[in-house]
């Protein structure tokens, strides 16, 4: 970032120069809006784990249209006692070694075990599973459509390094902007 010249507001400069500077400022503004939005989304996807949440990418259409393929869901880790029918929860598939994110249909507590019935919004068949009282499940609190594709694109080591580099560069530019000595007014 070159950091354009200081502009005299109360001056009598030529209008063409002012228009050029204004257009350049608009372009800079738009570019930084996009950068800020990107960094914000990146933070939303990566920071939840620091705050006790988990973010997952939806890879099947079992929850369409509520959760489309490629959506990123943000899960709050909760006790099974706090789950309510209607919640969308993430749990271990009782049949295969994978995680499922489906809507909770029924919850029944009995002794130290919680009996759950879940079903994908687009599925016809429910699944039944249990979780111990002191166990944990994920409750979907937010979903960001299509962001999973971006995450998939960033899954390679080089892409991650690139994203990290971009964020660091952004930070460095902001610091330069703060600390750079101002030019004297003309």
């Amino acid at each position: 970032m070159s950091g354009g010249p200081n502009v005299l507001i109360a001056g009598a400069h030529t209008s063409s120069r002012s228009a050029r500077l204004f257009a350049r400022a608009c372009l800079t503004f738009a570019l930084w809006v996009v950068l800020g939005f990107g960094v914000g989304l990146l933070a939303i996807v990566t920071l939840p784990s620091v705050l006790g949440y988990q973010s997952l990418t939806v890879v099947s259409g079992s929850m369409v249209p509520t959760l489309g393929v490629g959506s990123v869901v943000i899960d709050e880790v909760i006790s099974p006692a706090d789950a309510r029918p209607g919640d969308i929860v993430t749990f271990k598939d009782p049949l295969r070694p994978r995680q499922l994110t489906h809507r909770l249909q029924k919850v029944r507590a009995e002794g130290d075990t919680y009996y759950m019935v879940t079903q994908g919004d687009a599925n016809d068949v429910p699944e039944r599973w249990t979780v111990p009282r002191d166990g944990h499940i994920g409750k979907v609190v937010a979903h960001l459509p299509k962001l999973g594709y971006v995450r998939a694109a960033l899954s390679s080591r080089h892409a991650r390094l690139g994203a990290l580099g971009a964020v660091l560069l952004l930070g460095a530019l902001m610091l330069v902007d703060v600390w750079r000595p101002r030019r004297p007014a003309q």
């Binding site: 950091g3 502009v7 109360a10 930084w32 914000g40 309510r84 902007d177 101002r182």
Partner: protein, 175 residues
């Protein structure tokens, strides 16, 4: 000679960068807020259990078995169970039933009522449950425990699973 006039300067590119970044981050935040998934509103009854423990001076029936007629506790409704208590000694006794949690966590919002012969001996929160029942020599009484959860505290009670035990403290009753 007049002092030079001070001129106000604005670094437009710097302002554009900072406001752009703030607007971008705010948009991401708005996107997150918009992406919130509403929580479920279904009801999950609590799983409650109540068992009476034995006592040296009292005959308690049933002992160690479930007292409650139904174990699904729905806020706004109550579950109840009765126990027969007899004084095994030849002197009048004060029997003080005390509730303790055997498993899980009993919510503080639980309300308990103790009835003897249709008369209410206690009605209030589980934390303050300290009633006393007088039993004559060789006499017996039926005590009914009624447990409920106020609708206002539904979130604290729903989905919980707990076992309560009734322990008995006895002392000689004055004449």
């Amino acid at each position: 000679m007049a002092a030079p006039r001070e001129r106000t300067t604005v670094n437009l590119p710097s302002i554009a960068r900072w406001t752009g970044l703030l607007v971008g981050l705010s948009l991401a935040l708005v996107a997150l807020v918009q992406a919130r998934v509403p929580a479920g509103t279904g009801q999950v009854p609590a799983f409650a259990s109540l068992k009476a423990e034995p006592s040296v001076k009292l005959g308690v029936t049933p002992v160690g078995r479930e007292l409650l007629s139904k174990r699904r506790l729905i806020p706004g409704e109550s579950v109840s169970g009765a126990v027969q208590v007899s004084n095994l000694t030849g002197a009048p006794l004060n029997a003080a039933p005390r509730l303790r949690t055997l498993r899980g966590e009993a919510p503080d919002a639980l309300q308990v009522e103790l009835l003897a012969g249709g008369r209410s001996l206690y009605r209030g929160g589980i934390a303050d449950f300290h009633p006393t029942v007088r039993l004559g020599a060789r006499a017996s009484r039926e005590l009914r425990f009624r447990i409920s959860a106020p609708r206002a505290h539904a979130r604290e009670v729903e989905g919980r699973s707990f076992d309560l035990g009734v322990r008995w403290a006895t002392s000689r009753a004055g004449r």
